[in-house]
Symmetry: C2
């Protein structure tokens, strides 16, 4: 059982109003690298092919070069791989996450952790 | 029109599986301070009284002391104010946000910004 404070940092990079990179898209890139296809990566992450394809499409439209290259051929079964740009963007995104996680180890965090209960008190009113 | 990269950082502090503080709850605390009531703060933020009350209830159960004190009396119209603990937690949370925003101004961010298009390319397939 987890007690005390945990801190979750989410970094989203926007291109206009579209999310060019975020936690889900970064995980999808990892899965595409591991699975070698968009459909396999989607399955591994419990998302539909359509959803995975849309996330890849958004990424490929937001950066100066595509992050994912797909092999032409069969619609759903074709292979996919990260391009050099894909590897580069993913690497900088992960590195940014690490830097911010480290920066979050500051006195403010310690003060917040100290003021938090080990676990939430039970609500007095179950329903309002 | 906004062009190029924007970065959005979200910090959520968990107490067990409950979000003890995050962007919405911090804004609600600001609104309670400004409006002097939970109902007024909810209205100002476009949320129901029930929703605002539940967010306050969660906060009050996750920290060692309540963040919001409500005046006894009328159910929906009673006044509410931030406690000393509420002011302290909000201040540390905002300060943590500022530290992380500053930490995000790093070479990784610059490299990412450089690689992003000014705006997304139009999708080749409008619908898949």
């Amino acid at each position: 059982m987890t007690t005390g404070m945990s801190l979750k940092l989410t970094i989203r990079l926007y291109c206009g109003d579209q999310i060019a990179m975020g936690p889900g898209k970064a995980d999808l890139l990892d899965a595409i690298r591991a699975c070698g296809s968009i459909s396999g990566a989607g399955r591994a992450m419990g998302m539909s092919y359509r959803r995975a394809w849309l996330l890849v499409d958004t990424m490929n439209r937001c950066w100066k070069e595509p992050l994912v290259a797909t092999a032409p051929g069969s619609a759903h079964g074709g292979g996919a791989r990260l391009t050099g740009m894909g590897e580069k963007i993913l690497s900088h995104y992960r590195s940014l996450q690490t830097s911010l996680d480290m920066a979050a180890s500051c006195p403010d965090r310690a003060a917040l952790a100290q003021a938090m209960r080990d676990e939430p008190k039970t609500s007095q009113k179950a329903r309002v």
